[in-house]
């Protein structure tokens, strides 16, 4: 039967237990302290809904309470246990290095939304192509300037990345790899930064499994 992969952990396979999606038991497949955390997954259960994704995230959080886990993209399927073992053998160095990088850390997301009245507004009169592009450019520059005001958060993160998105309402998307015990301090500093901003309001969500830091550079 097809296996659903939740993540990669550096623990013996026998230490994996708990319940996965649709009540299927979790189990470990691996060797030499590198283990794929999986459960059986029938094709009939493959519908992806918001609830299923929250369930998957909660399962990962529970697994992470017992050790470091590299989260897998959802839904990642493996044909069988042999495929899981083959993947672990081929990518052992990559996984071990990534596990070391994220050990003891969680991911926090910071989004910046334009304050009411600051967001992109529909043009009141027809715009030429050039006017439209210049308008977009000005908005992008304003968002970039606001993004730079968040640079002080980097001091509390092991790694980070800020993106300026072509989104007329929420133009800033930052992701931070933060030591678990520094999450409170990060939230406090974020509050101070937010108070000092005059065009953008901030929201921080998490702590997430470090999905954006599994291969070095955040996605």
């Amino acid at each position: 039967m097809t296996l659903l992969l939740y993540g990669i952990a550096d623990c013996p396979p026998g230490q994996v237990d708990g319940v996965g999606l649709h009540g299927r038991p979790l189990r470990g497949v691996g060797e030499n302290r590198l283990t794929a955390i999986v459960s059986e997954y029938a094709q009939a259960q493959s519908e992806q809904t918001e609830n299923t994704m929250w369930d998957y995230e909660r399962i990962l959080e529970r697994v992470m309470e017992r050790g470091t886990v590299l989260p897998a993209r959802f839904p990642s399927m493996l044909r069988n246990e042999a495929a899981a073992l083959s993947m672990l053998r081929e990518r052992r160095c990559e996984f071990e290095s990534a596990l070391e990088r994220i050990r003891g850390a969680v991911e926090l997301s910071v989004r910046g939304a334009w304050r009411a009245g600051e967001e992109a507004r529909p043009a009141t009169s027809p715009m030429t192509g050039t006017e439209y592009m210049l308008d977009r450019l000005r908005l992008h520059q304003r968002a970039s300037e606001a993004g730079r005001r968040l640079d002080s958060l980097d001091a509390l993160a092991r790694a980070s990345r800020m993106r300026v998105l072509p989104n007329p309402e929420v133009p800033l998307a930052g992701t931070y790899l933060v030591d678990r015990e520094r999450v409170g301090k990060f939230a406090d500093l974020l509050g101070e930064v937010d108070e000092a901003l005059d065009q953008v309001d901030l929201v921080c969500t998490g702590p997430w499994p470090p999905f954006s830091f599994v291969d070095g550079a955040p996605v």
Partner: protein, 66 residues
């Protein structure tokens, strides 16, 4: 369960909730370890256009190597 760590007092709770959902989808569908050759992506049954856009932006951004 992951939730809001901080939210500006000026942002309405409904918008904060939407951001949390976008963050969930962004991470699960565009982040994480990729199992080469065995991955199957599916779009969640969520009818909010900007959620799809968030996933598309992240995926394009990654594909471009930025």
């Amino acid at each position: 369960m992951s939730s809001t760590v901080y939210s500006s007092a000026r942002i309405e709770p409904a918008r904060t909730q939407r951001v949390t959902l976008v963050d969930l989808i962004d991470r699960l569908l565009a982040g994480g370890v990729v199992v080469h050759g065995h991955i199957r992506l599916a779009v969640a049954d969520i009818d909010l256009v900007d959620l799809d856009l968030a996933v598309l932006v992240a995926a394009t951004d990654k594909a471009a190597g930025r």
